[in-house]
């Protein structure tokens, strides 16, 4: 492999590290992500895990690139496997020229498995780890060294990364990891991968610092930055990271995180807290969202500000806990008994997770209602290089709350007063003469329970009118591609990056497209309907089996004959090539129909 003349700058590098759960694949990917980001590249990482602590074939994927990419690429440049089964599983994706590094402690891979042009390196990581450290725990650090040499990372750079990464875990652990790294470098020498060579030109740089952050963490940060100071939740994959992140940082800003005994408690703790005026959020997934429905309806009926993050996973029931799906839109938009006002925002990129959650936090206060932020497992748990967040874009405003002074200036205070925009100013407990009765029963302006038909209708209409009055404040869609193109895409969450790259591939095929990325899913904004009307065909790409978004648009007035559904609900990631092929086959069929008709 000593071919310095072929060292190339990284344009688009895809690396998979795979093994049994507990092998440390994620750690290796995280280390590589750090190193590559510090080399001035942007990275995107994805994990494919099962819902258990150890065991089962798991993998993590890393893409490092120049420019903008928001998903994993279609090819593999380097596969590092702690388990030969992982190579079997990925064999088809390994093109000529790709590199496989694997742990051969349990034997070599079978002859003929891989394309003869795939370069294969076997080394006994686990055996070396057991021999040197009496346990195989450090085999991933050994493997990292070999992968680093293959890629062309300088030894010093790898060591410096280890020192930073493992400094927190104690001197003994750091020492073992550094020893393992040295062992790995020696193994690399034996394999003919000497220092200073390798495939790529990867040089550390400090000139452009970026965040490497998951959607879940970005959303948590967005909530904090918008003044969010209370979070109650119950651990559930894949949304737990939101609670974990806030638990680390919120107390520094005077906030509180409480883990409840179940989702029923979590949502009601959140509601109780929100009544005191603190900006409040919960986050959940799958079954947790079903359990929270009654509480979210309460927030709607009693007009309690609340942000709910739903990191969607495969359903129904327990479903696919670690796999992405976008099958909760119907539940978010129509869920709960009776009719109440709620809004649903849907990020596409990791940056969106920050800004939209911050906005949701502000809007929940301004309109006193539940606001959903709809993520999915992939957007929530994959991490991406993002530009530093711009905190000046985050609005924090306490309107329409009345202070004690504002209450004192009034002759009368009514918690649920009828107003022009449907929003009644509220007070917080502790405010003299600002007392209220808050209830999910139908109530009059003071909050007294009332079943009087006239009042009932007026209160229903008042709450519903907020969905109209908030429209100017709702986030508008992201727009990409050729604005004159007649073929459109619509998709949110994890489809974002795939659609953007599929558009490039389609352009290469001579098909011009544009992408409308709705950030407000509910209410459906006019801009969405106008976009569909402006196209000849719109591919609505969704991770569900019933076309929930497409049906929503049609229900709200879009021409259904223009919509082509692209539906994915097998738990696997939609490959760029898969989407391109689907669009091409539709377009070819459409073209043939047109020609035949002519």
């Amino acid at each position: 492999m000593n071919r310095p003349e072929t060292r190339l700058p990284v344009e688009d590098l895809n690396i998979i590290v795979a093994g049994q759960g507990g092998d440390g694949s994620l750690t290796v990917i995280n280390l590589l992500a750090t190193v590559l980001q510090q080399s001035g590249l942007k990275v995107y990482t994805e994990r494919d895990v099962l819902s258990r602590i150890k065991g089962g074939l798991t993998s993590a994927t890393l893409r490092a690139f120049k420019g903008d990419r928001y998903c994993i690429g279609g090819h593999i440049d380097l596969l590092m496997a702690f388990d030969p089964d992982a190579i079997e599983k990925r064999a088809k994706q390994l093109a000529a020229g790709s590199i496989v590094i694997y742990d051969n402690s349990g034997g070599d891979i079978r002859e003929g498995l891989l394309d003869p042009d795939v370069r294969v390196y076997g080394a006994p990581f686990a055996r070396q780890a057991v021999k040197s450290f009496r346990r195989d725990l450090f085999k991933n650090s050994i493997g990292f060294a070999v992968a680093g040499r293959a890629l062309g990372l300088a030894d010093d750079f790898m060591r410096a990364t280890f020192e930073r990464r493992f400094a927190r875990s104690g001197p003994q652990n750091l020492k073992y990891n550094l020893d393992a790294l040295a062992l790995g470098l020696a193994l690399a020498d034996e394999l003919g991968m000497s220092a200073g060579h390798g495939l790529y030109e990867i040089v550390p740089t400090e000139r452009h610092q970026r965040l490497l952050i998951t959607g879940n963490d970005a959303a948590a940060f967005g909530f904090l930055a918008a003044g969010g100071r209370f979070f109650a939740g119950y651990p559930i994959t894949p949304s737990t990271d939101v609670m974990e992140w806030l638990d680390k940082y919120i107390a520094d800003f005077g906030g509180v995180v409480r883990q409840a005994e179940d989702e029923l408690s979590a949502i009601n703790m959140a509601l109780g807290a929100a009544l005191t005026g603190v900006r409040t959020m919960t986050a959940t997934s799958g079954p947790g969202l079903s359990l929270m429905q009654e509480g979210i309806g309460q927030a709607g009926a009693a007009e309690i500000p609340l942000v709910v993050i739903d990191v969607q996973r495969g359903g129904p029931s327990t479903g696919l806990p670690t796999k992405p799906e976008q099958s909760d839109f119907d539940l978010m938009i129509f869920g709960g008994h009776g009719e109440f006002t709620r809004a649903v925002l849907a990020p596409g990129s990791t940056e969106d997770c920050f800004y939209l959650t911050a906005l949701a936090t502000e809007l929940s206060q301004r309109y006193q209602m539940p606001i959903y932020v709809a993520l999915d497992q992939a957007l929530g748990q994959n991490s991406a290089s993002v530009e530093p967040f711009d905190f000046s874009r985050v609005t924090v405003d306490n309107r329409p709350r009345y202070s004690a002074g504002e209450v004192a200036q009034r002759d009368i205070y009514k918690r649920y007063a009828f107003t022009e925009n449907g929003v009644s100013p509220y007070t917080i407990p502790g405010t003299p003469d600002g007392m209220w009765l808050v209830t999910g029963n139908e109530h009059d302006e003071f909050g007294h329970v009332s079943a009087a038909p006239g009042n009932r209708k007026k209160q229903m209409d008042k709450r519903a009118s907020k969905l109209v009055s908030m429209v100017p404040d709702l986030p508008r869609a992201g727009r990409y591609g050729d604005p004159t193109a007649k073929i459109g895409f619509i998709g949110v969450g994890l489809t974002y990056g795939t659609i953007l790259e599929a558009m490039e591939a389609l352009a290469d095929h001579g098909i011009a497209t544009q992408y409308f990325q709705p950030k407000t899913v509910w209410p459906v904004l006019d801009e969405t309907l106008e976009f569909i009307a402006s196209c000849d065909r719109v591919y609505v790409v969704e991770y569900n089996s019933t076309a929930q978004l497409a049906k929503l648009f049609v229900r709200e007035g879009a021409d259904g004959s223009k919509i082509e559904n692209v539906l994915k609900y097998d738990g696997a990631v939609l490959q760029i090539s898969e989407l391109v092929a689907e669009v091409l086959s539709h377009e070819v069929a459409h073209y043939e129909r047109e020609v035949n008709a002519a």
């Binding site: 510090q38 970026r210 965040l211 490497l212 952050i213 100071r229 209370f230 520094d252 800003f253 005077g254 906030g255 509180v256 409480r258 409840a260 005994e261 179940d262 029923l264 979590a266 009601n268 703790m269 959140a270 509601l271 109780g272 807290a273 929100a274 009544l275 005191t276 005026g277 603190v278 900006r279 409040t280 009654e294 509480g295 309460q298 009693a302 530093p388 967040f389 905190f391 985050v394 609005t395 924090v396 004192a408 002759d411 009368i412 205070y413 009514k414 407990p429 502790g430 003469d433 600002g434 007392m435 209220w436 009765l437 209830t439 999910g440 029963n441 003071f446 909050g447 007294h448 329970v449």
Partner: protein, 287 residues
């Protein structure tokens, strides 16, 4: 002076025990000088779940069974508030039973008054968790929530009153409020509050109650002795009332909240002011 809602008159049946609870709570708030605007009364669903409408405090009518999580959230968000939960036996022990156990375990400084009438009055007389075996075809044993409370290591205040003994009831309400106001934790007060329409237990309870405060040998600080005594009462079909158990244990808000932080509900969240601190946090996350 700003006018806000006028407390409504109770809609309970004449003779309902809940009138006595309302009176005792009004007395307690007055005796301790707790201002209406400093108290949040959280009520569940059921006949008892309308009590907040009859007071002039901040009142929140929560979902069925969710009095305790609502109270806990409010207290953690603003520990300066007096937070009082009120509800029935169905609300607190059936649909909300899980929260009862976890609130005892957590020990937040809130007062919780359960109006136990051993039936579902509002839905016309179905058996509740505290109904006796045999009541309305009930084949289950009745739950004793005080025994449950005794088994929870975090319990700090377990009391039972009876609306037929109003003076003691007011005393117990005052004790409960004091316990919570002093930040000593969860003040649980069950009140035997008969439903005159669907389970009129005045006659049975008048003779069954056993006031432990009249017994000089009763020591509310001795968990094992209290447990034995309560089991004995149960065997004798007697209902112990009074301050049944008292213990010291750190209150939730004293251990779950960061010491030097003020109430989360009142913290300054001005974005211009905090921007440098958010920037600093972000810098620490950069790679």
């Amino acid at each position: 002076m700003t006018t806000t809602f006028t407390p409504s008159r109770p809609y309970w049946c004449a003779g309902c025990g809940d009138y006595g609870v309302l009176q005792a709570l009004e007395n307690g708030l007055r005796q301790l000088g707790i201002a209406a605007h400093e108290a949040l009364v959280v009520a569940g669903i059921g006949c008892s779940g309308s009590l907040q409408n009859n007071l002039s405090c901040y009142g929140y009518h929560t979902l069925h069974g969710r009095v305790l999580p609502s109270c806990t959230g409010a207290k953690l968000a603003n520990p300066e508030l007096t937070v009082i939960g009120v509800g029935g036996d169905g609300d607190g022990y059936a649909i909300g039973g899980g929260h009862f156990m976890h609130t005892l375990k957590r020990n937040p400084s809130i007062t919780y008054i359960v109006m136990n009438n051993a039936t579902y009055g509002l839905t016309k007389g179905q058996p509740s968790p505290t109904s006796l075996n045999g009541f309305e075809n009930n084949v289950e044993e009745d739950l004793d929530p005080v025994l449950l409370g005794l088994s929870m290591p975090g319990s700090t205040f377990l009391a039972r009153g009876y609306t037929g003994q109003p003076a003691q009831l007011t005393r117990l309400v005052v004790e409960a409020l004091r316990h919570a106001e002093a930040g000593k934790g969860f003040a649980y007060l069950e009140v035997l509050s008969p439903c005159v329409t669907y389970n009129d237990t005045y006659r049975e309870w008048r003779t069954a109650v056993f006031d432990v405060e009249q017994d000089a040998t009763y020591d509310p600080n001795d968990r094992a002795a209290v447990f034995a005594r309560l089991l004995q009462c149960r065997a004798e079909r007697r209902l112990p009332i009074g301050l049944l158990y008292r213990n010291e244990h750190p209150a939730l808000e004293s251990v779950a909240l960061r010491k030097d932080n003020g109430p989360a509900a009142l913290v300054d969240i001005d974005s211009a002011l905090l921007k440098p601190r958010y920037e600093k946090l972000m810098q620490s996350l950069m790679r």
